[in-house]
């Protein structure tokens, strides 16, 4: 699988040129984006989470999103991978997501983490204080990824767990992007 180097919606002439030189793919097959997601069960006891049906092109943006719910009903992980035209656009999208999070996370703390490119981990709580919120943002090539962890107020997602899942997510994107 390969992430299209240029997402759907680009000028036809550019696509034709890319096809002529064997670059990218002719059209973005939405099913392809499933490979960009990583089930959290890959880093758990393997049965803790149940996946929702992935949403293709969330908010009319090229990419994929899925929600994973813990069996105890108190924890939820939301993965969103957007496929942008180029790495610069991916960075812009990531920064935009980070700005949006400011209104959704109270007592926000920011720390850099070793995942993909320019990764940031935002931690805090929901504005009403009823749940903990951790958000991992990073880019890999022309993909911008957001992984949100919502849990009990006194049991935020451990950083090593967030990083562990993020690194698997990054590897999946790299594999799709460059393989």
């Amino acid at each position: 699988m390969r992430i299209p180097l240029m997402p759907v919606g680009i000028p036809a002439a550019t696509t034709a040129c890319a096809l002529a030189f064997g670059i990218g793919s002719a059209a973005a097959d939405p099913a392809d984006y499933n490979a960009l997601l990583v089930n959290p069960n890959d880093v758990t006891d393997s049965t803790a989470y149940t996946a929702s049906a992935p949403v293709q092109n969330p908010n009319n943006q090229q990419g994929i999103s899925a929600v994973y719910t813990h069996r105890d009903g108190t924890r939820q992980i939301t993965e969103t991978v957007l496929v942008l035209p180029d790495p610069a656009a991916a960075t812009t999208a990531m920064n935009s997501s980070q700005n949006e999070m400011a209104s959704r996370i109270a007592n926000e703390k920011t720390q850099p983490v070793q995942v993909g490119t320019g990764a940031t981990l935002l931690t805090g709580s929901s504005p009403d204080g009823t749940k903990s919120v951790s958000v991992l943002l990073f880019t890999q090539g022309n993909a911008a990824t957001t992984v949100e962890f919502d849990g009990p107020p006194a049991d935020a997602a451990p950083t090593e767990f967030v990083v562990d899942l993020g690194q698997k997510q990054d590897a999946a994107i790299k594999n799709a992007l460059w393989s």
């Binding site: 069960n41 758990t44 813990h70 069996r71 105890d72």
Partner: protein, 78 residues
């Protein structure tokens, strides 16, 4: 004066075993090289305790507890 005498007497009592031992060792001029190792005491057993002060479930060690958390069922820090 009386207090001083009591202190000196107490010191003498405490020091006497050392003095006797030293004298005994000094008198031991034999070439016996046998070493009498002290009898081994009971082997200490370590019982790791979890958050509740018990030995814990599933082998979780001190400061850890077994519960269903972010990674599913696993040992988590207290």
């Amino acid at each position: 004066m009386r207090k001083l005498a009591v202190v000196v007497a107490a010191a003498a009592v405490l020091a006497s075993p050392l003095t006797v031992t030293q004298a005994a060792q000094a008198a031991d001029v034999s070439n016996d090289t046998t070493v009498y190792a002290p009898a081994p005491g009971p082997t200490p057993r370590v019982h790791p305790m979890d958050c509740a002060g018990t030995t814990g479930r599933m082998g979780c060690g001190p400061g850890w507890t077994w519960r269903d958390g972010w990674r599913g069922w696993a040992c988590y820090a207290c």
